[in-house]
Each structure stands twice: as structure tokens, then as C-alpha cells.
Amino acid sequence: MRTFLLSITFLLGSFWAVSSNHAIEETGQPKHETTSHSEEFNAGNMIIDHIVDSHDWHIASFGHTHFTIPLPIILIDEGQLMVFSSAKFHHAEESYKGYKIETDRKAGKGKIVKVIPGTMETDKTASRPIDLSITKTVIGIFITFIVLLIVFFQVAAAYKRNAGHAPKGLQSLLEPLILFVRDDIAEPSIGKHYKKFMPFLLTLFFFIFFSNLIGLFPFFPGGANVTGNISVTLVLAVFTFAITTFIGNRSYWLHIFNPPGVPWWLKFPLPLLPLIELAGVFIKPFVLMVRLFANITAGHIIVLGFVSLIFIFANMNPALGYGVSPVSILFSVFISLLELLVAFIQAYVFTMLSALYFGMATEEHEHSTEKSH
């Protein structure tokens, strides 16, 4: 069952990784031809703007009226802390206190940069401020955080109240998942010491799973592309990496720096295998980071792509746009349903692989038998 799930995941993952690359490359090209304030619909820009982080939460636009929730900007520049609302930038059209939101994609669109005083030109010589703003993704993280706390405090209370009885309500909804993490992820991967990793694995699993689900919900307060943001997956992967490195026992490090059962010339004079093993230590969390990011981002890109089709065809001819929309919506719904599956699978894979790495790091090797094969 697990191998089946894993193979499906990798298959889907590679497929979407490829499609996402296409989407990103395609968006790069037409952008140079159109001006930034063009009325013409640009699918690539629209999609990228939807999946990357931003300093305000865009809810809807009617013509030129944008309904957005301004979010706090927190900057540390040359040891000075500055906090103000992103509404001061007027949708990146104005500068405030010598800062503006970069609009040029090449210079890093969406980043906060300094301007040459009196103009709207980016001051390329000035250092960039440290941007600790509460962005859309940060709000998304907080929403997941609050949802998780509300849900799981209730579940924990239910476990105390229903001690020894059958689960009820929310508890019975989540118990299969908790048991899944414990019995199908942690115990088989880690072995008898699995218990001390359960808090991390459960938190990890439910954070990813809930973020993915909330990210699929298309309206506020859903829709923030939390797990499709590389910074988020980076932090998650770093947690896994840090725990693996911290708990790694003697035999784990021995297997990296002096792998037993391989010819000596692979280790001396050129430590080829130890180098590869050492690289693997870093590649594993890196792959974790990229896999989750790519899968979730790709899912969002495809859904947005199908929606964009309507507007692309409508730009050619409004009737064509109406004609294409049922098909487009149908495909979007289909992909969204698929994404529900992916939301679970990616949470599973990330947790599963983390558990496997913990298992490897804490495994007790029998060296006498290890050398024989």
C-alpha cells in the first residue's frame, strides 16, 4: 500500500513539476511585450501574482477598484524598526518613508526596496531593509496555526473526557489520521523509539495537511499559498534536518563517514563515498523542501491556468470565452479534487520521509552482520 502511494506521488509530483516549469517559462516571455499597465489579460502574470507572497491580501477587483486587506509592514533598516500599513504604498503605486514595493519582475517584484528620494526610481546602490512584514503567507500560517490549535485542543479535551470510550465527533474524524501517522508512518519507519518523535511528526503532518486544504479554498481566509511557498517548506525541511542531525547516533555518522561493506578505494585516498553520503545528508531535506513546494505550487498553477483559459479565449472573442468556460470550470474542479488527494499525499510523504530519516539516524546497526553483505 505504501509503495503504491509513494509511486503515485512521485509520478504525480514529476508530472506537475514539469508542467509548472512550462507555466513559469511561458509567463516569462509575453511579459516583455506587454506593458505593466496594459489592459490585456496576461495569464502568466496573473498566475504568478496569485501564488507568490504579497504585502496585501487581494480579495477582488471590479474594474480599477481593488478590494484588498492591507497588511502590516515591518522593516528593520540599519538597526531601526519601522512598522506601518501596506495601505501607505497604494497598491505599489506610491513610496512611503523612502520605501516602495518593487514592481519590476527582474529586480524582484514584491520586495520592499529603497527609492531615490523624490522619485519612484529604485535606489540600486542602497542596501535592502530586512523585511519582517506580516505578509499574506504569514497570515496564512497564522490561520493554519489558529485552526490547528482550536481543532486539536478540542480533540485533546475529547480524549480526556472520553477516556476509555469510543471517539466522538471531531475526535473520531481525526483519530484515523492520528493513528495513520502513528501506526503507518512512525512505528514502521522508526521502530521501537518512535514515541518521542510523535509530537513532531503529528504537528508536521497536520500543519502540512491543514495548510494544503486551507490553500485549496479559493476565497479569504483560504487561498494563501502557504505550503507552496519555498520559505515555508524550507523551514519545515530545516526542522527535519536539525532533528535528524541532532539525534543521529554513532552508527549513523559512521555510516556516512566510513560506510561499511564497500571497497576501501572508494574511501581512500579520495573519500568519494563519504562525500556522496555527506551530500546526501543535505540533499534529503532539500528534496523534501522542493517536493512539497513544487507539488502544491503546481496544483495552484494548473487550477489558475484552467481559469485563465476562459479569459484568454474571451480576449479573442467574448463568445469563445463563454463557450470555453464550462470545460475550463470542469477541469478546474477536477484538478481541485485531485489536489485534495495531493494535499493528503504530500503531507503523508513529507512526514513519512522525515520519519524514515529519523529511523535511519537512530537505527542500531549490527556491524558484524553488516560487513557480510
Binding site: I24, I48, I51, V52, D53, I74, R105, G108, K109, G110, K111, I130, D131, L132, S133, I134, T135, T137, V138, I141, F142, F145, L148, L149, F152, F153, V155, A156, Y159, K160, N162, A163, G164, H165, E175, I178, L179, R182, K195, M198, P199, F200, L202, T203, F207, N229, I230, S231, V232, L234, V235, L236, V238, F239, F293, T297
Partner: protein, 164 residues
């Protein structure tokens, strides 16, 4: 490329949020959840185990009941058999004893009869002697001078006669 370049602010907030989440859930939520699950599993396992044990005990009880019944039956049979044997021995013993007694009585009687017979014979012999003398006196018509001496003669002659 903004899509794949991590931002310091987001990393900061994510680390903070996830670390805090890990701490809160790890301290207040997962321990009771895991303990609840473990306890319930334990309770179910124990209940199953106890049911199994009870069933086995029931079976053992039934088995031992049957055993008891069988043993009781065997014992009853043995008792009956013993009683029958005892009865037979008693009857046999009584019969033997009665036989012996009868034999003894018969023997006694025989002995007595023999004795009486001997007494009677002796008496008869004396009577005959007296009669004989009287007859002889009558026959001779005179009394013998010495009747005592005659009696002895007669007794001696009769003693020679065996009546048996």
C-alpha cells in the same frame, strides 16, 4: 526569481509559528491524545484477554463438572459393587458359621446319645442281672446263701455279653 527565493521575513515568522505550534501541541495536545489512544487500546486488549480467559475458564468449569459427574458415577458404581460384595461375604460367612454350629450341635447330640445309650445299657445290664437272680431264686426255690456272691457271678457273665 521570486517563486524559488526564500524570504527572510517569511522564514522568521514560519520558524516562530511552527516552533510555537510544536511547543504548544507537543505540551498540551499530543500527550493526552497519545495517552488516551494508548489507554483505550490497552483497555480493549485487556477486555479481550479477559473475555478469552473467562471463556476458557467456563470451558474448564464445564469440563471439570463433567469430570466430577463421571467420577461421582464411578464412585457410586464402586460403592454398589463393594456393597454387593460385602453382602455376599456376610451371607457366605453366616452360612459357614451356621453350618459349623449345626455340625457342632449334631456332634454334641451324638455324643450325648452315645452317653445316654451307654448309661441305659449299663442300667439294662444291672436290671437283667437282678432279674436273672430273681428268676434263678424262683427257679431254685430257695434263697441262695450268699446273694452277693451270686450277683457278682451273674454280673461277670453278663459283662461278657456285648449288646452292641
Amino acid at each position: 526569481m521570486e517563486l524559488v527565493s526564500p524570504g527572510i521575513g517569511l522564514i522568521f515568522w514560519m520558524t516562530l509559528a511552527f516552533g510555537l505550534l510544536l511547543f504548544i501541541l507537543g505540551k498540551f495536545v499530543w500527550p493526552p491524545v497519545m495517552r488516551g489512544l494508548h489507554d483505550r487500546e490497552q483497555a480493549i486488549e485487556q477486555a479481550l484477554h479477559e473475555a478469552d480467559k473467562a471463556r476458557k475458564e467456563m470451558q474448564d468449569l464445564r469440563f471439570s463438572n463433567e469430570q466430577l459427574l463421571r467420577e461421582a458415577k464411578d464412585e457410586r458404581d464402586a460403592l454398589l459393587r463393594d456393597a454387593r460384595k460385602v453382602r455376599e461375604t456376610i451371607i457366605e460367612g453366616a452360612r459357614v458359621k451356621a453350618n459349623e454350629e449345626a455340625n457342632r450341635i449334631i456332634e454334641n447330640a451324638t455324643e450325648r446319645i452315645q452317653f445316654e445309650k451307654m448309661a441305659a445299657i449299663t442300667d439294662l445290664k444291672n436290671q437283667i442281672a437282678n432279674l436273672s437272680i430273681e428268676i434263678a431264686e424262683k427257679v431254685l426255690g430257695e434263697e441262695l446263701s450268699n446273694p452277693e456272691k451270686d450277683k457278682d457271678i451273674v454280673r461277670k457273665s453278663i459283662g461278657g455279653i456285648t449288646l452292641n
